[in-house]
């Protein structure tokens, strides 16, 4: 289907179903139950899942295929956000032109940065991209304040000179982002017994775009171009010796991956028309790397999984406080309860980053292929057991 082989079609359909049914899947617990805090089916968080999914898919095209580790990808995200917000300010609140502009601008940025950085590889490439990203971040904070609005961040105001559309909506607030009249923040709630499922327009727009992005990435992975990128990863020298110049290929991968990041940035601004420089800081770049590695770099599904995983636990873990911990361990004797709470305390709530760092170290050390490799190993172990079972009597004979 759509030029995909059978295996990829299945994968794509599974991802599509999971994404489109996310409001149900992420909301398994009744609203009033004690477990409702583990629900993730609210619009804001679901939007973040798919947007960071796009970001990680794009990063994976660069890192997963070519092995070039960019530590400056957040710069493209930030550039995308800024261009989208400017489009909202100047042209219209429709998200289509904003997203198109953010993809184009991020692509141009990636072209310039990639052209320079890709002259070197390995650690030097990482440092060069890092330097470029830090440069953009510092400039956005200081001299570019007329464009970026410095520390406050760029946002919609009441006196924006919007060409198509009004500066102030009827209710006196700035108008909201929309897609031909469909407002991004509009949410329908479906009450089914004890459950309340939320369907948000913005989420579905992002989800459809993410599916398109995922489809494109599958096609890139299976194309001759993708094969060429893999060859760069396995042995660039040999490629050069065969008379092939690898630069155009790696540059194309870099630009595509930068455009994905710009798309994610544009969508982020479309959901919430605000852009701040902290989106470009190198820790943000680090987070993108984390997502991709955690899920499994070089696999199709990995980055999406990683992005979902990190964003889910970031949200859930950071909400857990001592009171909640006490209710969890309430069945234990008092002393033990307090002890457990003290042990768990540093890892939840504000300590989420500690858990993230530890998790990351464990994954890099023991599971370099990420969650996807973990899943494959489990699946392999299970199937081997099944195969082994009939053999065991033979061995005993």
């Amino acid at each position: 289907m759509f030029g995909l082989n059978k295996k990829d079609t299945t994968l794509f359909i599974i991802v599509a179903a999971m994404t489109l049914l996310a409001p149900f899947i992420l909301n398994p617990f009744p609203t009033d139950s004690a477990l409702a805090q583990f629900n993730a089916g609210y619009p804001d968080l679901m939007q973040r899942f798919v947007i960071f999914g796009i970001l990680a898919i794009g990063f994976n095209i660069l890192f997963g295929l070519t092995g070039y580790l960019s530590f400056g990808h957040a710069a493209f995200l930030g550039v995308g956000s800024y261009s989208a917000v400017w489009m909202f300010k100047l042209l219209s609140m429709n998200i289509i032109p904003a997203i198109i502009l953010s993809v184009i601008i991020a692509g141009l940025f990636a072209l310039v940065i990639g052209y320079v950085s890709l002259r070197r590889s390995g650690i030097y490439f990482s440092i060069l991209t890092l330097a470029f990203a830090q440069m953009s971040f510092n400039l956005a904070y200081s001299v570019l304040t007329p464009i970026t609005n410095g520390e406050t961040g760029l946002q919609i105001t009441l006196d924006d000179p919007r060409v198509l559309g009004v500066s102030v909506a009827e209710n006196g607030n700035p108008p909201v982002t929309n897609l031909f009249g469909l407002e991004m923040r509009e949410t329908f709630t479906l009450d089914l017994g004890a459950w309340a499922f939320q369907f948000n327009i913005g989420f579905y727009v992002c989800a459809l775009i993410m599916l398109a992005a995922f489809y494109v990435s599958v096609r890139i992975f299976r194309s001759p171009f993708g094969l060429m990128l893999r060859a760069v990863k396995s042995n660039q020298h040999r490629m050069n010796y065969t008379g092939l110049s690898t630069r155009p290929y790696t540059l194309a991968a870099f630009v595509i991956s930068g455009m994905y990041a710009g798309l994610a940035g544009g969508l982020m601004a479309s959901m919430d028309p605000l852009a701040g420089a902290e989106r470009m800081q190198w820790t943000a770049s680090g987070e993108i790397v984390l997502m991709t590695i955690l899920g499994g770099a070089g696999t199709l599904l990995g980055p999406v999984l990683g992005a979902g995983f990190i964003k889910y636990f970031e949200n859930i873990f950071s909400k857990i406080n001592d009171n909640i911990l006490h209710t969890w361990f309430a069945i234990m004797p008092d002393g033990l309860e307090d002890l457990l709470v003290t042990i768990v305390h540093p890892f939840v709530g504000k300590g989420w980053h500690l858990t993230l760092g530890l998790l990351f170290m464990l994954v890099v050390t023991f599971l370099p292929g990420g969650l996807v490799e973990g899943g494959q190993r489990i699946a392999k172990a299970l199937s081997r057991k099944k195969k082994d079972e009939p053999k065991t009597p033979d061995a005993s004979e």
């Binding site: 070197r120 030097y124 440069m135 400039l139 200081s142 500690l354 760092g357 170290m361």
Partner: protein, 342 residues
């Protein structure tokens, strides 16, 4: 002219910090071939050793002093630090005053142990893995260390004053025969002297001791040294400890200049990496040279005259220089042939 001189002086202390961290990074890279993203965290841990020592020395107990009363007429409680009651009031007060320099004594063993644990416990397993994996795992480690420090000390910077003697500044004006005054804080002068001493000590250690000779041989050709029957891994572990101690000492002494906070290591790390790359990966003199050079350039770029000429240059000068150098001199300023080339 004197404005430029002042900026050069100002650049020296930042440059010293860059040089010390970059020196440690290069030591680790040159010996073990590991790209250590957690090196900034070691610098930060060093600064927090200074904070901890200052707190320990200020740890006090309360006694009721019958001769004094507080403003309500009740007998006043007087806090006496334990060190004052143990060593006598004068020695105790001096210890509190001099807690940052004294922290050096604590920092050296602590940092060496931290370095050993890090190398034996984690980094050892990453020698054969790609550089990307090394970057990632040490990046994770840096986050963990940073978060642990944040959990204990909070997110706010903690002021850690230098000894009273070094408060105030030294006037370079008359010394250099200028009519204008050229004030420069004493502690920064101390910092510069201190880091020059450390750099000198590291170089002397590598140059004039048998141990240093073996380590240098190992940096040049690890396999051959191993074939000669020398346990080079053990020596390199010790070098990791030394590199950690250098970063830690840089942190201890930097605490009075910038109040330590949990992310100071990350801020320095990015710049130190740029410094290492500019100096040439694996080149110790290159790291020191590039550290001072970039520190001074950063200071000069922050002069108003230059900022008016090119707005924003002070924010990006280091990165611009790094990009230019990497593109024109791929091995950095003093990079050796065959180190980290692809």
């Amino acid at each position: 002219m004197d404005a430029i001189l002042l900026q050069i002086l100002n650049g020296l202390d930042k440059g010293s910090a860059y040089a010390l961290i970059a020196l440690g990074l290069t030591l680790i890279f040159g010996t073990l071939g590991v790209v250590n993203f957690a090196h900034g965290a070691l610098f930060m841990v060093g600064a927090f050793v200074a904070v901890t020592v200052q707190r320990l020395f200020n740890w006090s107990f309360e006694t009721v002093d019958p001769t004094k009363t507080d403003f309500l007429g009740n007998p006043a409680k007087v806090k006496t630090p334990y060190v004052e009651s143990w060593f006598g009031p004068e020695v105790g007060a001096a210890m509190i005053d001099w807690s940052v320099p004294l922290a050096i004594l604590f920092a050296i063993p602590i940092m060496i142990v931290v370095g050993f644990v890090m190398e034996r416990g984690l980094i050892k397993h990453f020698y054969k893995r790609p550089h990307a994996d090394q970057i990632l795992v040490t990046f994770g480690l840096a986050i963990v260390v940073q978060e642990i420090v944040k959990a204990y000390y909070g997110a706010n910077p903690i002021p850690t004053p230098a000894p009273d003697v070094f408060k105030g500044s030294f006037d370079f004006g008359p010394l250099l025969g200028l009519d204008t005054s050229l004030a420069y804080p004493y502690w920064r002068l101390v910092y510069f002297g201190f880091s020059a001493a450390i750099i000198g000590a590291v170089f002397a250690f590598l140059q004039f001791t048998t141990f240093g000779l073996v380590v240098r041989a190992g940096m040049a050709d690890r396999e051959t040294v191993g074939l000669l029957g020398i346990n080079i891994d053990k020596k390199f572990t010790i070098m990791f400890g030394i590199a950690a101690a250098v970063a830690g000492l840089a942190g201890v002494m930097y605490a009075p200049i910038n109040s330590p906070n949990y992310h100071m290591g990350m801020d320095f790390l990015v710049l130190s990496f740029v410094v290492v790359v500019v100096g040439g990966m694996g080149s110790l003199p290159g790291a020191v040279l590039a550290g001072f050079m970039l520190g001074i350039l950063e200071s000069i770029a922050s002069m108003n005259v230059i900022k008016e000429l090119i707005p924003g240059i002070d924010q990006i000068i280091i990165y611009v220089v790094a990009i230019l150098i990497l593109l024109t001199r791929p091995r950095g300023l003093m990079g050796r042939k065959g180190v980290m080339e692809d």
